[in-house]
Subunit: 287 residues, 2 copies
């Protein structure tokens, strides 16, 4: 069990994930909860809702003396943020982690900045989110039963890894460990490709006449749901992981081409093979 | 309001939709509820659950004297079934309708059989369903708030159309009327294309290593959900509507190709345009 009552937690970025972390920290009796945001406007909301013991736009002030520091900002902003954090006076056992949805880039950026400064860093990716971004969408329980992928490498401090693992488990996550590149290949298939597929399905379904959707049942709604995600956020995620996404997207394009050929040729036996394979594969995860 | 207390309803095919119709009929106080099934085995379940006043494998016996006759069998079996139905003695104001998910083929098949026999036929498509087929999945309330598309043509009897419209409205459907070919183009975009997209996403996501899906969040689950639909049923639907599906599937294949090109070239401005268009289009239907 992670000793929450001894922990000073610093959350950088009070968005959906960061805000949910604040709510959890409060609920779990963390000793001190701090939050940093780029703008005073974001902090006002945090203060109104009393989500933290202190709230500041000063990175060093927020980091000073914190035991567990969580980067919950866009992945592209993490390395610079880590650079400011490591200039603060941190306890010897302080650990920096993140919630970024790609990991090779984070380890090479924020992870490397911490390593050079002698500060322990552990890459984390809690698979929790929603189409609705921002603090208003934050909720306690967001991490419950979510998978959380930790991406240690040869340089990762063992105690820091155990600490971060225990933290996510305490929030209800099912934690697993895998290499950063493997992580990025996995999420390309299970998160980023479904997103691109939903975007493609939305464009192909809605473009001719969006008003037709009034007649739709649950299939259209669910198949396209994640395409309502924040475009600016998804642009960044998709660009950051494009190396791992490209083979997956090639597969998707190839399969849609095969289905097109099958339908064009009215090859219903072949169509059945595809439908059966999809149903069988999906049954490995979903009843 | 449809006069249920005067109606003898005959449902042909006690599957998910037919079974749900039986439950609704009971709840709405229909005078007499009859059901026909191809096999005695299907009828046993109906009898056990007392879902109908009579249950038979004899089409003519089931149809005899019925006011409202609903074909809830696979579309490919409807014309032959209609051929047997019109041989029964039906009241002058009897109406035959169906629940098929394609309509041009149904009007040319079962609709034409009825027209030639002087029996009123109205094409219906309640947009209600589930991945789980069969009587066990049937439930009352299945049709509530569902869109129901009626497809009258020049030969459709006005009173029959009003009767069928009132029936679906009584079950809670939002009814609309459109031409059969237009209907087929619409459902190709809002139902059949999402299905093919979910199948393609499942194959591309799960094939390399299906066990990766254990780490997935809601995006993979929802984007691929309908790919768990019954393969034999979907083969038939997709083949029956292939003329209308082909241009939609071509669009899907083209868009996945465009996304692949955008990602390959790391053209993030162009990517944002696609993400924003998808989000905006989807917002026309879903908040």
């Amino acid at each position: 069990m992670f000793p929450f009552s001894d922990t000073t937690l610093a959350v950088f970025g009070p968005g959906l994930l960061g805000g949910s972390l604040l709510l959890e920290a409060k609920a779990h009796g963390v000793k001190e909860v701090r939050v940093w945001a780029r703008s005073e406007k974001s902090l006002e909301k945090v203060r109104e809702r009393r989500l933290a013991d202190s709230a500041s736009t000063d990175v060093r002030e927020t980091a000073q003396g914190a035991d567990l520091l969580i980067l919950a900002v866009p992945v592209g902003a993490m390395a610079a943020l880590a650079g400011e954090i490591v200039r603060a006076a941190l306890p010897a056992n302080a650990v920096v982690t993140d919630v970024g949805s790609v990991k090779a880039a984070v380890l090479a950026g924020a992870g490397e900045v911490c390593r050079r400064a002698g500060v322990a860093f552990v890459g984390s990716h809690p698979m929790a989110g929603a189409e609705t971004p921002g603090l208003d969408a934050a909720k306690s329980g967001l991490f419950r039963n979510a998978a959380c992928l930790l991406t240690p490498d040869a340089s990762t401090d063992h105690a820091a890894l155990e600490k971060v693992d225990a933290f996510w488990q305490a929030l209800g996550c099912r934690t697993s460990r895998l290499g950063a590149s493997h992580h990025d290949e996995v999420v390309a298939r299970i998160s980023h490709l479904p997103h691109l597929s939903a975007v493609a399905a939305t464009l192909a379904s809605f473009r001719p006449d969006a008003s037709m959707a009034q007649f739709a049942a649950g299939g259209l709604r669910d198949t396209t749901r994640v395409a309502s995600g924040l475009p600016s956020m998804w642009r960044e995620i998709l660009m950051e992981n494009r190396t791992a996404i490209l083979p997956a997207l090639k597969d998707l394009h190839r399969v849609t081409g095969e289905l097109l050929e099958i339908l064009t040729e009215a090859d219903d036996d072949h169509l059945l093979v595809y439908l059966e394979e999809a149903r069988r594969l999906r049954a490995t995860r979903y009843a």
